[in-house]
Symmetry: C2
Subunit: 491 residues, 2 copies
């Protein structure tokens, strides 16, 4: 019996040991906790804010005289949208003497709402949540102290989440004394050294606070070339503010924590000429006019027989739209133009997407190669053409938009006819903020910004907001890439 | 006749004058040119690179001893994906002793391509274009000099395109001498002063290079509190590197130029309890199993009778899917799962989107309120639940992903079972990089990242790439929010 008992015990131990080993192998993962409820780390932030107040408080006793033409350009945080007064009514007065219009968007919304105070309160809450989520220590104001013996990187230090880097550029430059000492402190990472230098004492390796000291300044500086930072709290897009100090001096700098941008690259075929079908997809939205859509498709096929056309369709009784390289998407009835644009663009797999309206016609002047050329050779994200209406009038709709910071109620958007600059190398092109609705753009950029499916029809200001929110640049062809028939008014 | 001639001349002058005035009014816009072909500004960049080399060249003569456990964590830029060797074959060996697999994605693609060298060359070209487009002076490494009399902002200075700001934090701290002088130089902006201080000379107001000097140091410092920067070359997302100098010292800092983030806020109703139908839209993709889809919808309606369900459908012969709060989208046949997900998500107008597969079933344990609670109270962008299969096995599919920098061929992606941290305040939740395909996320984030419509079916690595590219965080509920039947394998 004894032998059996021992065997049993033995087996039990082996079994338990095995299970424990399995359990360990199966459940990897730190049991450390992370607090991600929306609270900001405040110690270093408070310290920095105090430093800045200290800096700006100086010299108050010295008088100054305001320079009006410059100070008036500074943001007042109290912008008001004011319309021009209507001075006189004449035929064509709007053309000859364009007036400034003003739309108070928030008033328009709140005036018709049953509970305006409640909506404003809720909006403030949502906005504060947004600010907490998007706050980054990398945006905080930091001022470098003058006459500091510390040398340190102020920009350009990045680490991938939970990875380790050497911090470049650390140094201490002071007069010789019996002992030279520096400290480094971080919030979401630890320090260590990738190599050891003789005669330097290092305390706190692998911790959030490290102290390096040496009687020899050059040895300490050599050691500082090997200091590493390891990010230890997982967050794929944040920053750590490092406090680098010596006796009597503090310096703060930021280490950005993030994955790095994964580029979205497209294979466009690699011949001497642009392969338009491989590079561009045409996208459009159709409603109530299959005849015009058919004309559009036929005209495209005359010049680009194999280019893919993506069609978003929210008719009540959809008809089939078929043909090679045609993708037809059926939506719920009347979902709207913005939802349709978002849908069409979500299906594009080529490098560029060309937006057209379903009542456009391609002509011999519709040269997509020209638009591709601009996008291939510049840093622009979007290039628009011109649309010639039945009347013969050619619209390019170039506008510039400027945003003036307002107070709590929001900012003021100013939209004016015109453009910013002519583009070097492309004398027919200019840079603008708003362009006509016939444009080619980088697909990944359009997809990142998107169109707001909540809006049903285009209206001036929502349309502009969509265009300006994030879509980086537009350029407009000066001479018309004529497209042809246009419906009489598109808003 | 003379009088008539004079009258005519007079009228002609008035006419021409009027036309000129009209022309001026009609064609606003600077005639200045901007060169946006993909070339980087190199003067300051070269200067900075030289400074950094100078800094890192020091102390070469001092020896060091490598600390292996730290230096091995540094990026080698030569990662290799290696699989474990298969030591023995046993039933369940994969479960008991999980092996490391390796997939060389690029080799898999290139081996079957007719022109691998051409593809690699083209990919390098596209990648270089991408780097030129995404380069920002705000990412460049800058090191602050020690013992510099200059005080300046190193982070946090931002200006909206073509607008003006006061530069905070400028100062000069040196010993008294007969004349104190500082210089500021910029590339895409100009300097000026918002106020004038007596006894200070300012030269170059409104230009890219400004000189301020005074025999009185405190007067100069007071003047430096009023220096303004105006961005003059339009680019909605860039940065200007400013050279701030005095005799013998240069300091460089960045002013970011950009519009500022326009927040996308959602009105979710403002009651004491979460209004799930106002906050959440359910999105799914269906193919070949309308019966399962119907079961899914019926089960959802038991618990959430008014929640909107968006369905992307790429069946060959689509059947109607109708009912209140159901949006049915029809796609070309077999467009695929990724295209379908991109489409469905592009139509969501609520704050959160819940992804489900068409063969899921909601049960009494499917508490969307719990998921909303986490997203409302933390900075997480995505929270996943668990899926209980017919067998009773509940999958959460928690994985962590780490990216190791490689060389020219690309980086190495490591995927392991497990999670990073437990979440404070939500003891059943952990932070991971990859989660099960039953998740709720912030709609704007999912739309920004998107799903690649080029991929047809889910496969391990493409799926992970989609999940890790940009979708900021995931958290996984520890205890199953059981969802029910699951198809046998989803990849």
């Amino acid at each position: 019996m004894r032998i059996t008992n021992k065997k049993c015990l033995g087996l039990i131990f082996i079994g338990v040991g095995g299970l424990l080993a399995l359990f360990h192998a199966w459940s990897p993962g730190s049991s450390s906790r992370v607090d991600i409820r929306s609270r900001q780390r405040s110690r270093i932030k408070t310290l920095l804010e105090w430093k800045i107040q200290d800096i700006t408080r100086g010299y108050r006793e010295i008088a100054y005289h305001i320079k009006e033409e410059v100070s008036s350009r500074l943001a007042q945080n109290t912008c008001i949208c004011l319309a021009d007064e209507e001075t006189f009514q004449l035929p064509f007065s709007n053309l000859l003497f364009p007036r400034v219009w003003a739309h108070k968007l928030d008033a328009a919304f709140l005036d018709s709402h049953p509970d305006p105070e409640g909506v404003k309160r809720h909006r403030t809450q949502e906005y504060n949540s947004f600010k907490r989520r998007s706050y980054s220590p990398a945006d905080m104001l930091i001022v470098a102290e003058a006459n500091s013996p510390l040398q340190y990187p102020i920009q350009g230090v990045e680490v991938r989440p939970l990875k380790t880097i050497i911090i470049p550029g650390l140094g201490l430059k002071e007069e010789t004394k019996s002992n030279h000492m520096v400290y480094l402190t971080a919030a979401i990472g630890t320090f260590d050294v990738a190599a050891m230098v003789d005669n330097v004492s290092v305390k706190g390796e692998g911790e959030k606070h490290i102290i390096l000291s040496s009687p020899h300044l050059s040895a300490l500086n050599r050691q500082l070339q090997f200091v590493t930072y390891t990010n230890t709290v997982f967050n794929p897009k944040t920053a750590d503010t490092v406090d680098f100090a010596t006796e009597g001096h503090h310096a703060f700098f930021t280490i950005k924590v993030g994955h790095g941008t994964v580029p979205k690259l497209y294979n466009s075929g690699y011949q001497t000429e642009y392969n338009i079908s491989a590079l561009v997809t045409i996208a459009t939205k159709t409603f109530l006019r299959y005849d015009k859509l058919k004309n559009l498709i036929d005209s495209i096929r005359q010049y680009y027989p194999t280019i893919t056309i993506v069609i978003a369709d929210d008719n009540e009784h959809p008809q089939p739209v078929t043909g090679p390289h045609i993708e037809h998407y059926i939506m719920p009835f009347r979902k709207g133009w913005f939802a349709g644009r978002n849908l069409a663009v979500s299906q594009v797999i080529t490098k560029y997407v060309l937006w057209v309206d379903d009542d456009f016609i391609f002509t011999a002047n519709t040269k997509l190669e020209k638009m591709v050329d601009i996008l291939e050779k510049t840093t622009l994200d979007l290039v628009a053409g011109a649309v010639r209406e039945v009347t013969g009038y050619t619209a390019t709709y170039r506008h510039i938009i400027s945003v003036e910071e307002g107070g709590e109620e929001g900012d003021c958007l100013h939209i004016r006819n015109g453009y910013h600059h002519i583009i070097e190398g492309f004398p027919n092109c200019v840079v603008a903020d708003a362009v006509i609705n016939f444009f080619m753009a980088r697909t990944e950029k359009v997809q990142q910004v998107g169109f707001n499916p909540r809006l049903a029809r285009s209206a001036h200001l929502e349309f502009y907001q969509v265009k300006v929110t994030g879509l980086c640049w537009g350029a407009v062809e000066w001479r018309p890439l004529t497209v042809g028939q246009q419906r009489a008014a598109w808003w």
